[in-house]
């Protein structure tokens, strides 16, 4: 009986994931077709083989579509792991300010090192910033008693502080203000093949950790006492999950800047469509994160032609109301 039900659940989850994947393909294809130069699907296909549109497609649109998928998936996964680690539905790297600290780290690293070093200095700065943000959140959040909402509010305030520091630096170094807008809002504009390769490589390096974390995610839902009784060290488990989340979010921020609310939205939407079991939840979150960022980029490109709205701003506009909705829906426990 139980086996049959599990089997059904698995089939359904697989079906949903395939459906999201198809949607993602459709949105990506639209992303290749739509732009200042309108192309037909045939043109895009032809461009892969070379020809007159090859430059637009291969150098400009393909990297952009690819980076949306990769970074979106990374944000979605980072959200799942952080929410699982802290047992807090509101704790995604974007809500609790980790992405803002990562942006601040990137900006600082760019300021303090010569431009020639930026290829490795900025990713290092991103990671340092993201880790600092996560540590600050945990240390302060623990002092505050660590209820769901208090932790989220703590993170929001920390994120505001990081944002104010970025704005401060922008005024201080106006020559860098243009690029720092990306760290503030997030955008996939101007992504190159090199960015795609770098993010792919990073995610590949993270993959073993992601797989290990995926195996432990369900355990993260237990209380600390239960974990101890089944022989898992709670702090080690939670610390590991948080670290994986920070690595993923940091990689995504290094590639596209700090996107708002994607990491919050994807896991919740995934829970709605495939349930809370990690073996289905994790792939669905990654797929939905990728879909959300792809849609945000597409919407930002078409809504205000000829100008582009950065995807991060679109993501914030879509994701913010969702957070309010979550707060409304959740029974008001006195936490």
């Amino acid at each position: 009986m139980k086996d049959a039900r599990e089997h059904r659940e698995g089939r359904r989850a697989a079906f949903v994931c395939v459906l999201i994947l198809l949607l993602l393909c459709l949105v990506s294809l639209l992303g290749m077709v739509i732009g200042a130069v309108k192309l037909s699907v045939g043109d895009v296909m032809a461009a892969f083989g070379g020809g007159k549109n090859a430059f637009i497609v291969m150098e400009y649109r393909l990297p952009r579509v690819a980076i949306s998928i990769l970074a979106g998936a990374a944000f979605g996964l980072a959200g799942v792991f952080l929410q699982g680690a802290l047992r807090n539905p509101l704790a995604s790297p974007d809500v609790v300010g980790i992405t803002k600290w990562a942006g601040l780290g990137a900006f600082s690293a760019g300021l303090m090192t010569p431009p020639a070093w930026s290829a490795w200095a900025i990713p290092l700065g991103v990671m340092a910033g993201a880790l600092f943000g996560a540590l600050a959140l945990l240390v302060i959040g623990r002092r505050f008693g660590g209820s769901t909402t208090v932790l989220a509010l703590t993170g929001v305030a920390l994120g505001m502080f990081a944002q104010a520091l970025i704005q401060y630096a922008m005024v201080l170094f106006p020559s860098r203000a243009e690029q720092s807008m990306v760290w503030l809002a997030g955008s996939v504009y101007g992504s190159t093949g090199a960015d795609v390769s770098a993010l792919s490589l990073w995610l590949l390096l993270c993959l073993p950790f992601v797989l290990i974390a995926a195996g432990r995610l369900d355990a993260g839902g237990f209380g600390d006492d239960t974990l101890t009784s089944i022989g898992l060290a709670p702090s080690l488990l939670r610390g590991g999950l948080i670290l994986v989340s920070v690595l993923l979010a940091g990689g995504a921020v290094a590639a596209v800047g700090s996107m708002g609310f994607l990491g919050l939205l994807a896991p919740h939407a995934a829970r709605l469509v495939v349930g809370a079991r990690s073996r289905y939840l994790i792939p669905a979150s990654a797929l939905l994160g990728a879909l959300a960022l792809s849609i945000a980029d597409l919407a930002g490109r078409v809504v205000a032609l000829p100008n582009e709205i950065p995807a991060g701003i679109v993501a914030a506009v879509i994701g913010g109301p969702y957070l309010v909705f979550l707060l409304l829906k959740e029974k008001s426990r006195n936490d």
């Binding site: 909402t149 305030a157 104010a164 809002a185 709205i309 913010g320 707060l327």
Partner: protein, 329 residues
């Protein structure tokens, strides 16, 4: 409570002295630095010199504007914290400032001819719309005060993102930092005269009604038993919040954390009587924003840090402290 001395009159006097100091520093500091003595002499005895014009046409309106905006935000903060009984409430954290700035930016884009006074109407509409939404959330009872604050901050983030989107879509990218951070750099006399009536009326009504507002601070059941009166008082408070915050945003963009912070500072200094809190907030608010603007002018001299960035740097850690106080109480 505790054995802290509470001398509201003494605190007010000290605040006014400091305020005079900030004003004096504000009129004397700048690219063409004047000695404080010289600046004050020109302030009281203007002559035909260019320095005199500088003091009177540029620096004085700016210093006054900072103080009026600070007073508006601080009084609005006291009212909104009293009305919602939420220590994390403020015109900024409840999205009211962002609502006003979104409405202003949208109207400026739609009607480029809109000037000064024309932005006040949209500001009120935007502030009122968000205020109503937050009020609906707060009385629906589905959210505790922490959740309400989180919802308010989320609304603020979304509205700020929309402001950015509108500005980018209309090639006004260079105005983004200005509009999101709040800056007093474009202060002139017209702006001062625009906000002054709202400060006077809003502050005056708030003070004369202080006794009624203390009813709001009582718990729900007491408030209910006093019935209709509390409802009307709440309505008046809500209108005042919209007028005070909306007019502040209309003259210098959304400046955060003044409305959140000042009521807490004043309560710490002078205890819980609402009339005293209102009067002292009308002194400490201007002092804080005046000082923030001055700091923003000095710290990256000759460039300028928008006052809103300075208040955010002070305000975010303060927000955490308030959150902490809420935990331990």
């Amino acid at each position: 409570m505790n054995d802290r001395a509470r001398h509201p009159v003494l605190i007010a006097a000290l605040g006014l002295v400091l305020l005079a100091g900030v004003l004096a520093a504000g009129v004397s500091f700048g690219v063409s630095g004047l000695s404080v003595g010289h600046a004050l002499q020109l302030l009281f005895f203007p002559d035909a010199s260019p320095e005199s014009a500088l003091v009177w046409d540029v620096r004085l309106p700016r210093a006054l504007l900072a103080m009026l905006v600070g007073a508006n935000l601080a009084i609005a903060g006291v009212l909104i914290q009293t009305l919602t009984r939420n220590p994390l409430a403020s015109p900024q954290t409840f999205g009211i400032n962002a609502g006003a700035s979104l409405a202003i930016v949208a109207c400026l884009i739609a009607f480029p001819s809109l000037k000064g006074a024309g932005t006040v109407g949209p500001a009120f509409a935007g502030a009122a719309a968000v205020g109503l939404a937050m009020w609906a959330l707060s009385i629906s009872g589905v959210m505790n005060e922490l959740k309400l604050a989180l919802a308010g901050v989320s609304i603020q983030l979304v509205l700020s993102a929309l402001v950015q989107a509108i500005l980018i879509a209309n090639n006004a990218a260079q105005d983004i930092v200005y509009w999101l951070a709040g800056s007093l750099s474009a202060a002139q006399w017209p702006k001062v005269s625009l906000i002054l009536p709202f400060t006077l009326v809003g502050g005056g009504v708030a003070l004369t009604g202080a006794r009624h507002f203390s009813v709001l601070a009582l718990d729900q059941t007491t408030g209910l038993s006093l019935g209709q009166n509390a409802k009307r008082t709440g309505g008046v408070a809500a209108i005042l919040i919209v007028l005070l915050a909306g007019s502040a945003v209309a003259v210098c963009g959304p400046i955060g954390f003044i409305g959140l912070l000042v009521p807490h500072i004043v309560r710490r200094l002078a205890g819980g009587d609402i009339a005293v809190i209102l009067v002292l907030s009308a002194i400490v608010g201007p002092l804080l924003l005046g000082a923030a603007d001055l700091f923003g002018r000095i710290v990256v001299f000759p460039a300028e840090m928008p006052a809103g960035v300075v208040t955010a740097l002070i305000g975010a850690p303060a927000f955490l402290l308030i959150l902490y106080g809420k935990r331990t109480r």
